[in-house]
């Protein structure tokens, strides 16, 4: 059901609007701009329409509208302003701030209903279109990349070079391009250009298809004659593209031509085939050229061993592989660590879906169609926020989704506890049972459900009791749960206890009747009786802190 937020300081007016809208919507209410903002920040993306009064205490309609505009909320949340005899000036101001429509008092039930319906359907159509566009775009992009990659791999396959050469050159080119954009705008590179260069880079060696096997795969040094043949691949490759019977004017083909032809040119003019120098060499070819050299150095070839990352960088900077654009070398130095990570990581993922989405988003932004962009942005922001807080507060945090019965630990917590990040049906999960024991797990689970929508937060204390083995016997542990922190047990000499506070907040659906949807929670050392035994390597909860 579509959600409508009604913001008006008079309860009777909110009730009247609710009555007029009938049972077709899920109605949320706020009595001033501030309350409305809280709701919007909480569940903004779920709201299909805001009905907004003008004059209100705390924060009035225009102020809220202004904030919504600044936060980008107005892009996908339409706002209908309710007005009586407000001045022309106010009306104009509201339109300037991005209000979608007006409803005049007194409310006419038919007009209220129809206007809300129309605006909601208009916006949802627009959102669908944006989604459709992004999907289509993604699909198309994926396919064309796939074709380029297949083609490039056919060349590589014959060449017996490391199969990842094409992929690596793509990744390195992309890294370098990103830094160039940071450093200068003299090449006028857009996000779109960079994506295109990186994908087309896969074609840089297609000319090698014409090089005879015995030259291409000869171990050891090439003779002068053979080297000449080898060097012909850039001119031959570009000629193949120039001879295409179709698509010659396509930007992709033109770009492929310059990369293929000039990726062995050098900044000082001592490269081949045309001896171009400086920025006469297109920036795309310069970038691919450097990426190609770095990969050639750090990979094993039939005629050489692999150099380390550090050696490769040093050789390039010293000009041992020919001269490069000083700006490009600067970019290489800045992004050196990233290059090393890609090299060591073995980039199986040709192009993360993330990158393509990023690009699609960029496009959408430029075309002013960024309705779903804000949603993604919000999500990313939330994730970042969580990671940040987790990073500084420590402790072991988790989330439980009642519908999917999925328990999720933060990565750090999972690592320390020695369990996996996601656990299905935790009460019956063997790894959890082996850590905490069946009884304790059951108690935790019932505690999860003890919260109510009015009183969602519950807490209890988890005691970790460690018993040292006699002689060389290894220590054992058990857990107990209590509702208060200060149970003072007199433990014998060979037992130690550490207490942790387990704080949970249950989550509920917004619609009545409110259903239990899950729990978020955190395990932190209790302020009281905090002292975990050192050197007992059973469950190092302390390692989380």
């Amino acid at each position: 059901m579509e959600k409508i937020l009604i913001v008006d300081d008079a309860e009777i007016n909110r009730e009247l609007l609710t009555e007029m809208l009938g049972g077709d919507y899920n109605i949320l209410e706020a009595s001033n701009g501030k309350e409305a903002l809280t709701v919007l920040q909480d569940i903004g993306p779920e709201i299909s329409l805001v009905l907004l009064d003008m004059v209100m205490p705390e924060m009035d309609g225009l102020e809220l509208l202004e904030i919504m505009g600044k936060n980008g909320m107005l892009t996908d949340i339409p706002v209908i302003m309710i007005s009586a005899d407000d001045s022309q000036e106010t009306t104009h101001r509201a339109y300037e701030l991005g209000v979608t429509e007006f409803i005049r008092r007194p409310y006419d039930s038919l007009v209220v209903r129809r206007r809300c319906q129309n605006i909601i359907s208009l916006y949802s159509k627009q959102k669908k279109l944006v989604g459709l566009f992004a999907d289509q775009f993604y699909e198309r992009e994926k396919n064309s990349r796939l074709l380029i990659d297949i083609l490039a791999h056919i060349v590589e396959f014959r060449n017996n070079e490391c199969a990842t050469h094409v992929i690596n050159v793509q990744s390195y080119s992309e890294i370098l391009l990103k830094e160039i954009v940071n450093q200068t705008d003299k090449y006028g590179l857009t996000e779109k250009d960079c994506m295109l260069i990186a994908s087309v880079s896969a074609l840089h060696d297609i000319g090698k298809i014409s090089i005879p096997d015995e030259v291409l795969n000869k171990p050891g040094r090439l003779t002068d004659e053979e080297f000449k043949i080898m060097k012909s691949h850039s001119a031959v490759g570009s000629q193949m593209l120039a001879d295409l019977p179709f698509h010659r004017e396509e930007p992709l083909v033109k770009l492929a031509y310059s990369i293929t032809r000039w990726h062995h040119e050098r900044w000082d003019g001592r490269g081949y085939p045309d001896g171009l120098a400086g920025d006469d060499i297109p920036i795309a070819a310069q970038v691919v050229s450097l990426a190609d050299v770095y990969d050639a150095l750090t990979a094993e070839r039939c005629y050489k061993k692999a150099f380390s990352h550090e050696t490769a960088i040093e050789m390039i900077l010293k000009g041992e592989c020919g001269q490069f654009n000083p700006l490009l070398l600067k970019c290489l130095e800045i992004r050196s660590e990233e290059m090393r990570l890609v090299k060591e990581g073995g980039t199986q993922n040709i192009k993360g879906e993330d990158d393509i989405k990023e690009f699609a988003r960029e496009l959408l932004k430029n075309d002013a169609l960024y309705a779903s962009d804000r949603l993604l942005h919000l999500l990313e922001y939330e994730k970042m926020k969580n990671r940040f807080f987790e990073g500084i507060t420590g402790g072991c945090s988790f989330e439980y989704n009642a519908e999917s019965k999925l328990l999720t630990f933060s990565k750090k917590s999972a690592d320390v506890l020695g369990i996996s990040e996601t656990i299905v049906d935790p009460v019956h999960d063997d790894s959890l049972i082996s850590v905490f024991g069946q009884e304790v797990l059951k108690e935790m689970s019932s505690m999860f459900r003890a919260g109510t929508p009015q009183n969602p937060i519950t807490q209890l204390y988890l005691h970790q009791v460690i018993t040292l083995g006699s002689g060389n016997g290894s220590p054992t542990q058990s857990f107990r749960i209590t509702s208060s922190p200060d149970i003072k047990h007199n433990y014998p000499e060979n037992m130690k206890c550490s207490t942790y506070r387990l704080i949970c907040r249950s989550t509920w659906t917004l619609e009545a009747p409110q259903r239990f949807t899950g729990v978020i929670g955190k395990l932190v050392p209790s302020e009281t009786d905090y002292g975990i035994m050192k050197g007992v390597d059973i469950l190092d909860i302390e390692g989380l802190l």
């Binding site: 300081d9 008079a10 309860e11 009777i12 007016n13 009730e15 009247l16 009555e19 007029m20 009064d53 004059v55 209100m56 205490p57 009586a84 005899d85 008092r105 007194p106 409310y107 006419d108 039930s109 038919l110």
Partner: protein, 118 residues
């Protein structure tokens, strides 16, 4: 007293409000009976007494809006005049206008008690 009698007695517009509510007498009746729950009038009198004219302005404005929705023309008119008298500065005749609002408001509250049960 029927709903229509109530409207006539308080200088309100029954046919107008009925048409706005899509012809539903039930809805008109429901919201007219809710009117005493609305605190804007009481808060207006309070704020005025405390010389808090900013709140008084806002409450007069809210009262006007509620009256517009319910078709209480007479009270809406006096609330509207008071709203203008309190906008930005406090006009000299504001206290008299407040008394008019009080009179029209009390008239509605009294008449409501005589309304037939449905």
């Amino acid at each position: 007293m029927t709903l229509r009698d109530f409207y006539n007695k308080t200088g309100s517009n029954y046919d107008g409000v009925l048409s706005l509510m899509g012809g539903s007498e039930r809805i008109v009746d429901k919201f007219v009976r809710k009117f005493p729950n609305d605190k804007s009038a009481v808060q207006l009198f309070e704020a005025f007494e405390n010389k808090d004219y900013e709140t008084a302005f806002r409450m007069a404005h809210t009262l006007k809006g509620v009256c517009l929705n319910l078709g209480f023309d007479r009270l809406r008119e006096s609330a509207s005049e008071l709203t203008e008298a309190l906008r930005n500065t406090v006009a000299d005749n504001a206290p008299e206008l407040l008394e008019t609002v009080r009179r029209d408001y009390d008239e509605i509250i009294c008449a409501l008690k005589e309304l037939d049960d449905v």
